[in-house]
Symmetry: C2
Subunit: 224 residues, 2 copies
């Protein structure tokens, strides 16, 4: 069965919206969903980007957009009490090494907890309470998230994602191709149906030169 | 008549895609289109962001996405010979002080030239050739773009946009509200129809605290 890889961090409402749809999408298209928790902040660090919540008017737009998007798409949305929040423990809980066969249910539960119930996913007690209907041993899972092995595992997963070119969340990989953003389902569907872009044209465009660079990238470049 | 303000830079293929749709959108909804040329690089400088073409894997994704998007939406797309390119002269041509009543036609022509015909909008000869069917005096317009007044005007327009919170292109303003991105038409349509978000909830979310900040923003913040 063909796989759809889904990179996410609980910190991102766009990843939440995408998660709400990706299960059905995979079912409709006969794909196996492979969920990949990654640390969004580390992606930003690596690529030198700011997150949407780090640019004041973008944060304001983001909140309005999310309210409008949830409304249009009939998705439950209750913003977490603090944002951005520390999502590391929640992400580690979703590693197969912690939750095993219950990974999809765990991610479901935590996304719902954080963005549909508006609970604080940085609070271990919230995580414990939330997982008690899913996990046979929530305390054990939580303890595992504080071990060096599991901490290292999330780090490695994030580094591997960076190596693959992941720069934001949600990111999908299908058939070796990266798709970024919650608006990519129609394009993923095209790709699943075997409809691709013109790869010769793509490679040719990719190889074309840059005419200008900002000072921040290239001290000799100046657009003025 | 109600106005829709449209902020753009020719450097952005997303702005091109949005421009292809915004005229019809305004006609359908009885809106007057007010076009606002701004310098994307200056928005990035101000907010400390990188543009999509400045993050290597994001640039790769952007090209694939644009090819797929144009195909799905039956929009002509020929990438410019160099990208990013210096769009300042083309933007100045679109100021009402230069093109006057012919502003919409001028923007139409230049977006088509740059992204449907794949010509180099940084090349004055390309601009001259392209405008000869629009402008009664293309040489005069081009000369105006090199005057201190017109240079200053584009700078001022960009600074005013920043003051309003514009952080990217395309950006729309309707009824005092900012909408960012080529995917905003359904949400703009809601807004035009008088359907808004819950503004009390919005203000409340906006006032909630941040729980973490990355080192780049706050030297004392650390997520590890």
């Amino acid at each position: 069965m063909r796989e759809l890889h889904f990179y996410f961090d609980f910190i991102s409402p766009y990843a939440y919206f995408a998660w709400c749809q990706v299960g059905n999408f995979c079912q409709q298209h006969g794909l196996t969903l492979v969920a990949k928790p990654v640390v969004f902040g580390k992606l930003l660090d690596h690529w030198g980007q700011l997150g949407p919540a780090e640019v004041p008017p973008k944060r304001e737009w983001l909140i309005r957009y999310c309210l409008r998007y949830a409304d249009r798409n009939n998705l439950p949305l209750v913003f977490p009490p603090q944002h951005p929040f520390k999502s590391l423990t929640a992400l580690r809980l979703c590693l197969p090494e912690v939750c095993g066969q219950l990974q999809i249910e765990t991610i479901n539960r935590l996304f719902h907890l954080g963005w549909a119930e508006g609970r604080d996913l940085a609070d271990p007690q919230v995580l414990l309470d939330g997982l008690c209907t899913i996990s046979p041993a929530p305390e054990k899972w939580l303890a595992m998230t504080q071990t060096p092995e599991i901490k290292e595992k999330l780090k490695t997963e994030t580094e591997q994602a960076i190596t693959l070119g992941v720069f934001g969340v949600p990111t999908f990989f299908f058939n070796g191709e990266l798709f970024w953003g919650n608006d990519q389902f129609p394009f993923l569907a095209d790709s699943v149906a075997g409809k691709s872009f013109d790869s010769i044209k793509y490679q040719e465009i990719l190889g074309r030169p840059r005419a200008i660079d900002r000072k921040v990238r290239n001290p000799s470049g100046d657009q003025t």
